[in-house]
């Protein structure tokens, strides 16, 4: 079934009801002692004495609405009442290790797509146990029982979940329960459970953790990457400082307020060693990447057919043409609004950690390593995060907070300033790519090769060896993830394709940045496809349509965006459009971006986006993720760049690393295609198509092909 969701729809289940009382309650705010314990039906689901149904979420909600979506899935399958459902978490439990990933984490747009099936089975199992308890009590066949609105009914017998929960909890889990697939909430726009607490200051983020007798810590890290702490002149040390903690590459001051800790640190004379990176610049790092491409030694993680032979045969052939281009993307910072922070209390051999973390397993491992304690003695309280975008997967700030807490006999909250956050990020790695393709005389794409040079997140951050010379993370968004043939290059119909990698390590810390490798691959591939269309003398939309004849799903997404954007029809005077299609995190996204360039200044007027994520569990959350992702994508494409000078990051705050604001936000028109296929991810899906659609629009407007980001450098 194909349908679109009407964006103007503003009635949400939940907000319409005056009795809407569902609130997000985080772990840590556990019920007061002495209250009856909930009946735990399985790791996800328990029933409280008051009849509320508690879902312990397997990962955290960074604002994508994933906790609400999971609660909807649970509610439908269990037969609960929506107003009874509560969400907690994430809880720490081996049952919550992301299927196929091997750790407990929030990343990869996995939350809803990974947990939909396990959660539905858990809910079905819980429902069958409640029925079993009711049937035994009433001496009736299980088949005579129905479940709805938080009650089990059989003839004249009926009982609420709370009444049956203790009996039900005695039964073992049902191995392969029958899933009913009820859809009362799923597919409807449901008001998010976390939102009420976010409009009146009640929402508690990591930075809002308050513990009795808590101290605060500020940190200064070696500004040059690779530099070490040499010494601190403590003669002028403020008496406010409770402890001065020296790490190999940083100094932490602990005081009874953050301002005292920060001020004391600023007044200190701290010496850092010289480093081999002392004179390095972004230009040097780019030169390394280019030199490595010139060297011509590549790993070949992607190969289909024999594109290199086709390319060399086409060179100099009269009836074929070879098109080549070099593309480049910069380092990017995450800039989550809540700076890095972590609160730690160590007493005896017990370590408690309150942290906004995307990497729960990684945090546990880091804590075990630093403290030497066993896992049983480390208690992690994941807090609500003020943005993450991949940065909060890392554990550097957790380790620092533990070290600070080890130095004093009180809980300590470590807070990074924005300057520390910008200068000590794990940046989206800068990459350089050489693209080449062969076109037949009639404009058919016959071979496509992308050679990519840059660092590896796998090697640098995760500490794993490269896989046959390459890093799969760097190739996200190249081949299809939505299971279609052909699928070597997204879903385009080209048999001879290669992706080659020239690993170019760097001293700059690199990490996951929303959509990761796809964030630059989308720009490389979809800009170059546009170049090929123009070389072939074909409209870029028609060029892509011709390549999607065997991929009806991708074609439908492309056509939806083009139709809604009125592609090819007359536009207001001075307006131009660019188009792009991407296939990432299991979802297909097409965007048409309409711009104008009044007085030589870029104005983005309208973005039309179509997404096929299989099915939308909560359509309004899908719309919100498209709207927000497009703003972040526009910001990165137009403005954002981290520079390295003298071995350190040049930028330091929002005034020199500018991110998009309200005034620059265009109209964003979202269309959801319900293909009914496997669930795709949503949180990262909007990003990769933004930069190429925008650069392609600029080409349409000015004839200027922009091959390096940010675009502002060229306007």
């Amino acid at each position: 079934m194909t349908g679109t969701i009407n964006l103007s729809r503003r009635t949400f289940l939940g907000t319409a009801a005056a009795a809407f009382v569902v609130e997000l309650r985080m772990t840590g705010s556990v019920a007061a002692q002495g209250t009856p314990q909930p009946q735990i039906l399985n790791p996800f689901i328990s029933i409280e004495q008051d009849g509320s149904v508690r879902l312990v979420a397997p990962a955290f909600d960074m604002g994508q609405g994933s906790h609400t979506s999971l609660a909807m899935i649970l509610c439908d399958e269990l037969g609960a009442r929506w107003e009874d459902v509560r969400v907690e978490g994430p809880g720490i439990n081996s049952a919550f290790i992301v299927p196929g990933v091997g750790e407990q984490a929030t990343h990869g747009s996995f939350m809803v797509r990974s947990w939909h099936d396990p959660l539905r089975k858990a809910a079905a199992s819980a429902r069958i146990k409640l029925v079993r308890a009711a049937a035994a009590r009433w001496q009736v066949p299980e088949a005579s029982c129905t479940v709805a609105d938080g009650r089990v009914v059989s003839g004249n017998n009926h009982a609420g979940f709370a009444d049956l929960a203790a009996d039900a909890a005695v039964f073992p889990d049902i191995e392969d329960p029958e899933v009913l697939g009820t859809r009362k909430l799923v597919g409807q726009p449901v008001a998010r459970i976390d939102i009420p607490a976010k409009v009146d200051g009640r929402a508690m983020f990591g930075l809002d953790v308050r513990l009795p007798n808590m101290a605060y810590a500020a940190i200064r890290q070696a500004p040059v990457f690779g530099s070490a702490l040499e010494g601190v002149d403590e003669t002028s040390l403020s008496p406010d400082v409770l402890a001065l903690v020296k790490l190999p590459d940083a100094v932490i001051a602990v005081a009874d307020t953050f301002w005292k800790a920060k001020s004391a640190l600023e007044d200190l004379d701290i010496r850092f060693s010289s480093s081999e990176n002392d004179t390095a610049t972004s230009a040097d790092l780019r030169a390394d990447r280019v030199a490595n491409l010139d060297r011509g030694e590549f790993a070949t993680p992607i190969l289909s057919g024999d594109p290199l032979s086709i390319l060399s045969a086409a060179q100099g052939s009269a009836d074929k043409s070879v098109i080549t281009a070099e593309y480049d993307t910069p380092y990017l910072a995450h800039m989550s609004m809540e700076p890095m922070n972590c609160t730690v209390h160590i007493s005896g051999n017990r370590c408690e950690i309150w942290v906004p973390t995307q990497g729960l397993s990684a945090t546990m491992q880091a804590a075990v390593t630093v403290t030497g304690f066993s896992e049983e003695n480390i208690i992690i309280h994941p807090t609500m995060p003020g943005g993450g975008f991949g940065r909060k997967y890392e554990t550097d700030f957790v380790v620092q907070a533990i070290r600070a807490a080890m130095a004093v006999d009180r809980p300590v909250q470590l807070i990074w300033t924005r300057e520390q956050d910008v200068q000590h990020d794990f940046y989206r790695p800068a990459m350089t790519a050489r693209m080449s393709a062969a076109l037949s005389k009639d404009g058919k794409l016959e071979a496509f090769v992308m050679r990519k040079s840059g660092p590896s997140i796998l090697e640098h951050t995760l500490g794993f060896p490269l896989i046959e010379g390459s890093d799969p993370i760097a190739w996200l968004g190249f081949g299809t993830q939505t299971g279609s043939a052909p699928g070597q290059l997204q879903q385009y119909d080209v048999a001879d394709v290669a992706g080659e990698f020239a690993f170019t390590p760097t001293f700059v810390p690199v990490g996951y940045w929303r959509s990761v490798g796809a964030s630059e691959n989308g720009f490389f591939i979809e800009s170059f496809i546009d170049e090929l269309a123009h070389s072939a003398g074909t409209d870029p939309y028609e060029f892509r349509r011709n390549l999607l004849r065997s991929s009806p799903r991708a074609l439908a997404v492309l056509e939806k965006a083009a139709t809604e954007a009125k592609w090819g029809q007359s536009l207001p005077n001075g307006h131009f459009q660019g188009i792009a299609l991407t296939d990432v995190v299991g979802s297909l996204v097409a965007q048409v971006i309409e711009i104008s360039v009044p007085d030589g200044k870029l104005a983005v007027n309208r973005v039309t986006v179509a997404i096929d994520c299989g099915r939308a569990v909560n359509p309004d959350s899908v719309i919100a993720q498209m709207q927000g992702g497009i703003v972040m994508g526009l910001s990165a494409a137009i403005n954002e760049r981290i520079d390295i000078e003298d071995g350190r990051t040049t930028q330091s705050n929002f005034y020199d690393y500018e991110v998009a604001g309200l005034a620059a936000t265009p109209e964003i028109d979202v269309h959801i295609i319900e293909s009914g296929e496997a669930l795709g991810g949503v949180g990262e899906a909007a990003i990769p198509a933004v930069a190429p659609a925008l650069a392609n629009a600029i080409f349409a407007a000015t004839g200027k092909r922009i091959r390096s980001l940010p675009l502002l450098d060229h306007l």
Binding site: R10, F12, T15, M62, G63, Q64, G65, A191, R192, D194, I195, P196, A197, K198, V199, D200, G201, R202, A203, M204, F205, L207, D208, R210, T257, F258, W259, M335, S336, M337, E338, P339, M384, P385, G386, G387, F389, I415, T417, R418, D620, A624, Q627, G628, G629, I630, V631, M632, S635, N653, F654, Y655, V659, A660, G661, L662, A663, T665, E667, I668
Partner: protein
């Protein structure tokens, strides 16, 4: 000791007069709804009202706040669990994502509506310079119009 009036309640605060109001609100008074984002007056996460004007509390020394009427997100509504029309619009249009910037965003919007009850898009562009990394701006604009009846 510095005397502060926050959300209509008098407090005596033991902090150095140069300490930014932001940290006093968060640490001395437990008003954690006001957020730290940049410490440079750029992002707006720490926006509060000082005598009815939106200010960035990371740039206001404690001494300058003495004697003023300070209002934080916790004091925007009457405190009985009811919400202002603006906050209700925020829920109706499902504005927040991660939510971290939203206290400051709502305080800036409340000051805008007080000064300009029927704002145009240009008024909103000029007044709403707070940063939201989740990119909730389309809904921020719509929620302000909804609260103002200028949809």
């Amino acid at each position: 000791m510095v005397e502060l009036n926050v959300n209509g309640i008098a407090h005596s605060v033991d902090a150095a007069p140069e300490t930014p109001l932001l940290w006093v609100l968060r640490e001395n008074l437990g008003k954690t709804g006001t957020k730290f984002g940049c410490g440079a007056g750029v992002c707006g996460a720490c926006t509060v009202h000082l005598d009815g004007e939106a200010v960035r509390s990371c740039q206001v020394p404690l001494a300058d706040a003495e004697g003023a009427e300070i209002k934080t997100i916790e004091g925007l509504s009457s405190g009985n669990g009811d919400l202002t029309k603006l906050q209700q619009s925020w829920i109706d249009l499902q504005v927040p994502q991660c939510g971290y910037c939203q206290s400051g965003m709502i305080m800036a919007a409340a000051a805008l509506l007080k000064a300009t009850p029927k704002p145009t898009d240009d008024d909103i562009d000029a007044a709403m310079t707070n940063i939201c990394r989740c990119g909730t701006y389309s809904r921020v604009r719509a929620a302000i119009h909804r609260a103002a009846g200028t949809e």
